[in-house]
Structure formats: C-alpha cells, structure tokens
C-alpha cells in the first residue's frame, strides 16, 4: 500500500469511528445491560461483510496437516469450544459467533490462498489467531489492504506490532525479544556463573530471542548455534555447544526441536541445564514427541524434569486455577474428542479476548470499530493472560510479560518468579503488581462498549 492510500484509509477509519461514536453516544441513553451496550436483538443491523443481524463470522488459518500440525492443530478446537460456550449463552449482542478455520499446511503459498478464500469468498468479518510467522506474513498485505481486522496473530514476531503500516494487525502473545530479555535477566541474577549456550531457530524467532537475551548476559554466552526447521539432525549443533563448554543451554525452538535436542544430548552424554522458551516447552506435547522419536525408549516427561521455561497463561496442570477450571468446564461441555491441553487453553484464551473485543466494539460495529475498540479498551482487558496487553493507538503488541518457571517430574510447572513485564528495546523489566485476574461468574467477559 502506498503512503497516500494508507493515509486515505486512516482518514476513512477516523471518519467512521467519529460517526459510530456519535451513534454509540445515542445508544447509551437507552441504558446499559448485557454485554455492556444498549439495545436489544431487534436493534441489530448488518454492517460490514461477515456481520449480520444474528451472526458474526470469524476466520483463521492453521496447520491442520503436515509437520507443524501436532499440537498447533488443537488450538482451533479450543477456540471452537469457547465460542460454542458463548453462543449457548446467547452470543455477543445476541449474535452467534461463527468460526471458520482452514488448513494451510504451514506453507505460505497455501496461506495466501485460504486467506483469500476466507476474505473474498466466505467474507469473514475479522481474522483471529492466524498461526505462524512466514505463513501469516503472506496474508498481511491482503488483510490490511482489504481493511479486515487481523487480530491476535499466533506468533511472537515483532512484525505484527506496526500500526502505521499494518493498521489492522494485532499481536497477542508476548514477543520473542521481551521473552529473551526476561530469560536473560533471570540467568544474570540467579545463575551468574552459568556458561550459557544458545540453541536458536534460524529465523526471526531465534534472532529476536537472541537480541533480547544478549542485552543481559552477553558476557556469559559461550556459543550460539542455530538449526534450520526441517533438518532433523542436530548432532553438529549440540556437539558445538558441548565443546564450547556450555553448561546451561537456552533454546528458542519449536516443540519438535525440544524433543530432538534432548535426544541428541542424551546420545552425546551431554548434561547441561536447559531453558526452553515458551513456544517449545509444552511438557505434554514434547513428552509424546520424545516417546515417538525414541520409539518408546523415553517415556512421559521424565527428560524434561528440571527444565526452565516461561509462562504467560495458566497451564493445564494448575487444576486449582479458576481459569483452568473454567476452561475445563467449557471443554467438557463442548463434547469434542481429546483432553484439555495447553494448546486448547491458548485457543480458548484467544477466543476470550475476541469476545471482549467484540463487546467493546458495541452493538453494530464496523470492521474499523473493532480495531478502534481494541486500541482504546484493549489495554485494560482482563483475562486469563498473566500480564496485560499493550494495545493502544500507537501499539499493537500483545501480552507484555511472563513468569519464569521450572518443570517438575509430573510435567507440572513450579513458578520461580513473579510476573515480569517489559517491552522491546531498552524498556526496563519490572515486577507486575496488578492483581491476578479471576474469571467472571458466568465465564463470559462483560466489557463496556467504547464511546
């Protein structure tokens, strides 16, 4: 998009926001109520494509087939379960949320194709949770030039936080650089003598993470090795870490490479301490991958005992956490196959934020209203995430913090720090002093409409 047409879009956006805000002001006189806005089902109107009187269509792309499918393909089933739960309780402003997700096989060419289909043919009102950095990158241009809200991209790349060029795109999970900083500070404070080796995926996931971690422990790092996704032989990388004398390895890698690095180290009799960033550390998935890759020689999560990681959402092993209890109830009610997993919790948490955004956007929002609602109110949303979002008119970055934890024998996580919040660049790391949120009684958020 050129600068002039971008300016045109933002002028148009501002104009629509102004008119709808005026309209919302009128609405408020008729009294608040269910979902925060006024009016009843009779006041519902179709606005932009995908938003009808009684339904709103949300779309997404996920790897449902292919090598990236294990784990990730569970996310949309979690989303489905939560939307079903909300729909059974009347929906949002008496609208049922329809959820349509398609397979892209983690191939950017396919992503472009399915997003085209979702936007041009199925006419989704908004996208939510499109997964993957390279894959979603292929859809970025189309979504922003069509003016389709592109919410909560499921990747920690910093690409999504660029409101000037991509005014419709919002991140959701903490970015990898902030995560790297938090990991770096934890090591600097608690393990100042560790000789740190980095194990990095060879893309911006690894690069952003490395940039963050080097801000704190550049002098402690003795080696940085990277792997290419798709190449399953890690002998060279792990040997290099071993020879450099690293006794503490930090991995920015996907779950498959957590399993592969563990098995390779086992074979080489290399026993450092491990710290896996959030993406690659799901104990259940890694446990099942380990079992499969080792043909049953390694069972369960035993190899992961004592491994450090980070958390920004409650995990499935925290059975006393009210959010996990809510999600367990929602999952059981949905009647889908399988157990509640951390990937499904991730999907439900995104769906929860989506419902908040739809509520804040008011009874009859346009696509631009939805974006405006997130920019204005998104920073104050309370949900399952441990730290608040960083949404504002200038920022489209998601959750701003996480805690460091350690995986126990049964795959449960023991928290080592409080919630640490930070941001990209020079931003300080601070302890989050906000109260831990609890889910509302009904299990459904109740955000006020903006305006």
């Amino acid at each position: 998009m050129t600068r002039t047409s971008r300016r045109l879009v933002s002028v148009l956006a501002a104009a629509t926001i102004a008119t709808t805000m005026a309209a919302c002001g009128g609405d408020d006189d008729s009294g608040g109520g269910g979902g925060g806005g006024g009016g009843t089902a009779e006041d519902n109107e179709a606005t932009d494509p995908g938003m009808t009187e009684d339904s709103v269509l949300i779309g997404a792309h996920y790897p449902l087939t292919g090598p990236a499918a294990p784990g990730y393909s569970e996310i949309p089933t979690g989303v489905q379960a939560y939307f079903d739960f909300v729909n059974a309780n009347g929906g949002v402003y008496d609208r049922q949320i329809e959820w349509r997700y398609l397979d892209d096989g983690y191939n950017p060419t396919n992503t472009g194709q399915v997003v085209n289909q979702l936007v041009l043919e199925d006419e989704v009102f908004a996208m939510m949770g499109g997964l993957g950095t390279a894959t979603h990158n292929a859809a970025l241009d189309l979504l922003n030039s069509e003016g389709v809200p592109d919410l909560f991209v499921a990747s920690g790349s910093s690409l999504w936080d660029n409101p000037e060029d991509n005014p419709y795109t919002f991140g959701w999970q903490p970015d990898y650089e902030s995560e790297g900083k938090i990991i770096g500070q934890y090591i600097a404070e608690n393990l100042p003598d560790a000789k740190v080796g980095l194990f990095l995926q060879d893309d911006d996931f690894g690069e952003d993470g490395e940039r963050g971690i080097r801000q704190y422990i550049d002098d402690q790092i003795v080696a940085a090795e990277s792997y290419t996704s798709g190449n399953t032989d890690l002998g060279a990388q792990i040997t290099a870490l071993q020879q450099a004398g690293a006794d503490f390895v930090v991995g920015f890698n996907t779950p498959i490479y957590t399993a592969l690095s563990q098995l390779t180290a086992l074979r080489l009799n290399y026993q450092p301490e491990w710290f896996y960033s959030n993406v690659g550390s799901d104990p259940q998935l890694v446990g099942s991958l380990l079992e499969r890759f080792s043909s049953g020689a390694v069972t369960g999560t035993s190899l992961l005992e004592g491994v450090y990681t980070t958390d920004y959402l409650p995990t499935v092993d925290e059975v006393d956490n009210p959010w996990v209890q809510l999600f367990q109830r929602v999952w059981d009610e949905s009647g889908q196959e399988g157990e509640l997993t951390n990937f499904r919790i991730y999907g439900m948490s995104q769906a929860y934020t989506m419902v908040q955004a739809l509520q804040a956007a008011g009874r009859n929002p346009t696509r631009d209203d939805l974006v405006a609602a997130l920019e204005q109110a998104g920073g104050d949303f309370e949900g399952p995430a441990l730290a608040p979002f960083r949404y504002s008119e200038d920022r489209h970055a998601g959750i701003g913090g996480m805690g460091v934890s350690r995986i126990g024998a049964d795959g449960s996580a023991e928290e080592l720090t409080g919630i640490l919040i930070t941001d990209v660049g020079d931003a300080e790391i601070e302890e989050y002093d906000g109260e831990e949120s609890t889910p509302p009684e009904s299990g459904i958020p109740d955000e006020e409409a903006i305006g």
Partner: protein
Amino acid sequence: MSDLQTPAGAPGAASDDAPSTATAAANASSAGAGGRSFLPKSTLLRHLLVLALCAVLAVLLLEGTERSTNDQISRIAFYAIAAGGLTLLTGLNGQISLGHGALMAVGAYTTALMLDVDGDPLPLAVIFLVAVAVTAVVGAIVGVAAARLHGPYLAGATLALAVGVPGLTLYFSDTLGGEQGINVRAPRAPDWFVEGIEALSGERGQGTKWLAYIAVACLLISYFLLANLMRSRIGRTWRAVRDQEVAAELAGISLGSWRVLAFVVSAAAAGLAGGVLAIVVRLTAPGSFLPVLSLSLLTAIVIGGLGSLFGALLGSVLLVLLPEWARDFGLEVLDMESAQASQAAFVIYGLLLVATMLFAPAGLVGTVRLALLRRRAARAMSRAGGG
C-alpha cells in the same frame, strides 16, 4: 481454455511413426474431419488465432467471476506455466525432473529481490525477463549434469536441487530473508488498466484483478511460445531424442545438447512461473518451495496427460481446485471437522492419481485423444472397406 497441444502429445500414439509424418498426418486428418477446417494451415497463424480466442475467453472469465475466483485463476496460472515447461521436458524430451519447484524458487526470489528496491523498481516485464534468464542459466547448469543421467539417477539429482535450494535461502538469510522470506511489493495497476476495466465491467481493476491479468497474460504468452516450439523442428528433434536415441544420433542429432536445450526452455518456464507466484502470493519464503511443490507439478502433468499443454493446464486446475472442492465437500456435505476435511483432500487427490494411472495411463487429455484417434481410424477403415 487453451488448446495449443501438439497432436503427437500422447507418447504411445506417435512413437511408432517418424515424428514429422505423425504431425502431418494429424494435421491432415483433423482438417479432413471437418472439425477444425476453418483454421489456417500455417501453424503460427493457427496458434495466433487460438491465442487471440483464448485471450478473449480469459477476459470474459476474469470479468465474469468474483475476485476470489480471480485469485484462484492466478494461482492456476503459475502452476500451469511451470507444468507447461515440465510437460515439454518430460513428455516431449523424456527427461524427468523432481526439481522444478526449486527452479520456480529461483525465478520467485529474482523477482522479489528486483521489486524490493528503494525507489521505483524496473518495469515488471523487464523483471520477469531477468527472472526467466536467471532461471534459464541455472537450468542450463543443471541440464548439463542432467543430460548425462537417466531415469532414477536423473530423478535423484533433480530431487537434490528441490531439497537444497530452500536451504540456500536460509544460509543467505541476510539477502534472501531466511525462513520468513521476502515480502513482495506487488506492482500497482497502471491507470489505463483501471480505467479500462471500469469501462468494461464497472469494477475496481486493482490488486487481485490486476495480478490475475498479469498471471493469465504470462500463461497465454508462455503457452503460445511453448506450443510453437513443440510444433517446430526443435520439438520434432526432441521427440526423436525421446523415442529413438540411436536413430536420432545416426541422423546427426547430438543427444546431449538437445537435452540441455530442453532443460533450459523448461527452466525458463519455471522461472516465469516463480515470478508470477511471487507477485500473486506477495511473499517468497522457503516454505513455499518445498520438494512437495516439484512433486505436485509432476502429478499435475501426469493426471492431465504427458506432453500436452492443455493437459498441463487441466492438471494445474485440478491441483488448485480439487483440494478446495474436497475440503468444502467434507465440511459442508459430510459435516466433518476442518482438520479431517483437510486430510480427506489429500486422500482424494491420491485416489485420483491412482485411478488415473490404472484406468487412463495416458492422462485425461491423452486418453481422450487416443479414443478419438481410434474412432477416426475405425471410421477410415470402414470407409475404405465400404468404398
């Protein structure tokens, strides 16, 4: 859409005759059958006429369909361009390549890098020509190696290309963008185009539509050139090299250099396909050029019918639309989960491939053409018997 195939396309049908008589016979018989008698005798003129007809049809098709269909057509176009080049190599010259996806990557990355400059990039036509030239050079290098290899060895060597090239983009991640690739700034539609489309159908002639027109134009031009090449002396020589190595060599044909030439032409088509892919997908990333891309191109030309451009197009249409139909069928009619429906699409594609191999080994186009030839022969026999 286009019917520019050579009559000798079905390998079994033509291989018994000397290539030139096969072509001549097919021409004479098609004229005699009355179906195409209005077409001019000159190959070039006839192809030009078909080209013009197809161009008109393409405009009608693009203007008569939704934007999402326009996008599908662009995707069919880039697969079809690459498949057209591959069908020339495999169907006409008898060489197999499992590395055409990698050659597409070369074209795509060349295009992406040339569009990703400060200031105004060169005209798209120039960029595409450079992409074609660069890929042709790579094709020549591969072709020199390939000309010495046969069957499984050739398949293995080209497969190495398909596996290796995406890795290069990670190795040179500073210039080639690594795993997340290079965002392609799709060229904007010129004013004359926007106004022309507005006058024609009253729609917005930008974005998807402009790209679809570029893609289809590239498809038509490349098929026109390939069709002429296939019907020329060069095409006949390739067929001779494929069918009768010894006879061809005795006739003074240097097998090696003709094989390299076929590889170069085929690579050039893959390069153009890559360029179109880059602007249509608006991203070039290694994930788009995995070995599975090369394999799907090969399945497309096999299903469509080896050696036939129309078959390559048909195969590409199936390649793009079939998974989508299968998925929608699973989702809407059978009420499956999205994940199951996506997996079902692969199963259906595989079943179709198996069925084609069992019941129509010459591919869809080849089978129809064989049936036609047989009927014509039977009719000629009965006429001869009756007279």
